[in-house]
Symmetry: C2
Subunit: 208 residues, 2 copies
DNA sequence: GTGTGTGAAGTGGTTCACAGCG
DNA sequence: CGCTGTGAACCACTTCACACAC
């Protein structure tokens, strides 16, 4: 089943919201209510959910637990993806402690850095290797996903090194640059400075 | 002039790229070349740049320095926006040390947290106040932009407190939730776990 | 009556294709 | 001849509007 990217992003948010509502004991929720809580139009919510067949009850709404489990199934990976984090600076360290990575579907198996002071130690219980070791460590541990939190200048070089392993399928890039990869690798970028600049640009527009 | 959001995001990237090319001594660049370096189609690049009038030379390309200055003008804020960072956890601390915020157009004037151990101290030379003080500190210092790096559960409450000041125009939200704000405030969200889930979802698709 | 499911219409952004200038 | 600038065609996503199930 082909699902558009913005739809997937919303599914993740429905999933999170439903988990919260479930924990709060709510049994049923309407498209209207979900829309208000997530800043989406109700019609958008219904369209997204209708991709998976009739799952709501007309005149009533959606059963919170059932809908949660349904979306959970759609989003769940077939197995845990093994990941490595490259770049143990401020941001890399922050992500290691970040809630999302506590989730068992993300397993960070190795860290890489080019700083000898960090190599050989463990952070959050995960061993740090020199970036030069990456291809062999990636193969040994079966790593398929890279989280890249290195400075802009280093990003392309790090990607080149890890792709030598031939095992990498996806990259989440936090460096403020575009990287060039073989087309077997899927890249998503989180570019903090682009988001900030966008915000500032529209603030400027509004104040004119 | 109205510019679409994806266009602004690309402008920021052209800006960054041109700065780099300029520093490397390159004088001229074609839409094709910029497209390859940033993973955009050449026609997209030309369309984006054509919004500002004829700025390239046919048969030649764009003059790197001139184009850089032109985009710089478009993106530059009329004055420095004063900002505050709310939430001095891993991520907040990481952002404080992040390169983008070294840029003088972003001036972080205050920090807020609810941890008494942090209140009263300074981080990166910036004083940390208790979140309860936010409305008065925001007014005193003329702060208009908030960077929100608190846990999901705290996000809405923090936003409510800072908006009491009546001075906030924009928020960059890093918490993994949607927040509800008065419509005088513009919000951009960087939702790391949504990006990660999206990546994993498409990895799953590809492997079928 | 109430809230879903969905074709159809609308909107916004991207890509094409080529005329035109250097 | 090369590369820009741009209308027109295209495509993707969102919103509307209403029939229909509960």
């Amino acid at each position: 089943m082909k699902i558009a990217e913005p739809t997937v992003a919303r599914l993740v948010q429905y999933h999170r919201l439903l988990e919260r509502l479930y924990n709060e004991g709510q049994k049923v929720v309407s498209s209207q209510e979900m829309g208000e809580l997530l800043n989406f139009k109700a019609s958008q919510v219904r369209k997204d959910l209708s991709y998976f067949g009739e799952i709501g009850k007309r005149g009533v709404g959606y059963h919170v637990e059932r809908l949660f489990k349904h979306i959970d199934e759609i989003l769940s990976p077939p197995r845990q993806w093994k990941m490595a984090l490259v770049g143990l600076g401020h941001l890399g360290t922050a992500l290691l402690g970040y809630g999302a990575f506590k989730n068992t579907k993300f397993g960070i198996q190795a860290l890489f850095d080019n700083d000898q002071a960090k190599v050989g130690k463990a952070y959050a219980g995960i061993p740090c290797h020199h970036i030069k070791e990456a291809p062999s460590v990636i193969r040994d541990k079966g790593i398929e996903v890279i989280i890249l939190t290195v400075p802009a200048e280093a990003a392309q070089n790090c990607i080149d090194i890890v792709s030598q392993s031939g095992r990498i399928k996806g990259v989440l890039n936090f460096s403020p640059v575009s990287i060039v990869v073989p087309d077997t690798i899927r890249v998503y970028s989180v570019d903090i400075s682009v988001e900030l600049e966008k915000l500032l640009f529209y603030l400027k527009q509004n104040s004119k």
